[in-house]
Amino acid sequence: MRYMFLIYSQERPEGPHPAEIEDIKNRHWAVMQDAKQRGVLLAVEGLKPTSLATTVRASQGKSVTLDGPFAETKEQLAGYYILECKDLDEAIGWASRIPSSCKGLEGCIEIRPVADLPKQP
């Protein structure tokens, strides 16, 4: 089954502590390498900070464009993985290895099962 791992990071304008950057990179790299070798890495992307985000919302038939992310919260989406896992316990095992301080300080990893798209009509 496919699971998406949403990385939520506590954003700081100056990013993570300089001393931690190498460690964060290495840990992501290790997860990617391991997942690739096992043939379970389906996708992985990192995102630029929310200061560069734009939100478009449909309102009364018109679309309204706004600066900033969908919600101003302490922890922001910083990237994702999609991995093929046998079950939730295996997914939890992966999640515990994914660093979440990519954009500043530790946040969390949300695991969501990926739904099958309906066939094209």
């Binding site: 089954m1 079950d87 939730l88 316990d89 095992g93 695991i111 099958d116």
Partner: protein
Amino acid sequence: MISDAAAAAERLFRQESGRILATLIRISGSFDRAEEAMQEAFASALASWPEKGTPQNPGAWITAAAHRKLIDQARRERTKLEKQDSLRYETPARFLPPDLALEDPPVHLPDDRLRLIFTCCHPALNPESQVALTLRTLGGLSTAEIARAFLVPEQTLAQRLVRAKRKIQEARIPYEIPPPSQLHERLASVRAVIYLVFNEGYVATAGDQLVRRELCSEAIRLGRVLCELLCDESENLGLMALMLLHHSRRDARIRNGQLVTLEEQDRSLWDRQAIVEGLELIERALQAGPVGPYQLQAAIAALHAEAAASEATDWGQIAALYGRLLEFNNTPVIALNCSVAIAMSAGFEEGLRRIDALGASGDLDQYYLFHAARADMFRRMSRFGEAAQAYRRALALTTNRIEQDFLNRRLAEIAGATP
């Protein structure tokens, strides 16, 4: 005759349904299908046993009957799915077990119930759902019984169960004993659920007394299953000992609907058998190690159980155990208990000083036991005016009728004692 067979089926359901269901879930890969098949099998039993007599091994009879129903059910569903193949994307993805697993004769694996308890207590489910699902599947309690015990509408509880089962199925929470790297965290979650069930029954809040006692017995039964299956875990033994030692006082702690303090309980009403078993368990646990919070709490309960009279209680050792417990859980409530134990061993002045020091942060200000503990210190030192004031603060902070009665009784006592 008819009622005999019905009673036999009822007894069997209470004792064996958890084990039977655990096996059926493994075979079918679905909580709902397993439950449905088991219920149908019990209905068949009620229909046929009064006439044909109760079979020699009723549990095996039910399992075999439920297994046949599962096979029929799977065949029906497969045909339906094949017919609907072109529309398949519209039906939610469902896990159909491979034929082989289903066609094999049903064997009870010793760890089926362990799989079930780990799945029900999975931390990816919210705690209320963990408790409800554990009681429903392993305990065999009805939705109505669980709803009554937790004072929630039956509809709410039923929805909670549906949501939990849906998450198990669709997020694919495995039906397995967790991998070694997760076992420790997961076991803690299982113990927390069992202790929550016990406490819900033990703490004398409102609600049906009988159902509440049933919850305690159920928690003890689940604790036994856990100890039986994973007996090397010292905290499992510690939890079991703790529940037994608390439960041993059940007949002494409420008299005419009123709460009786440990000190004032009639110790001849304590359940000796439960105490002996609890003491054995805690000794075994502490020898095996490593020590943990359940064992420390059980050791404290053991010291109370061993005292022939309240004056004979070894408060010095109890205070020391609370001190160790604080190293695991540094909560104001445990610190409060520790201060009370120190008061009982090193003197009320010292105890009161420590209680007041704890209160300085303000964290305990809305906690009725904090004021009740202060009041008790004043009462023991015959400072009745200050005692009455603190009892009144405590009284304003609890809505529990039994606790209110107790505090009012104390207030009346000191009013009588005031010169």
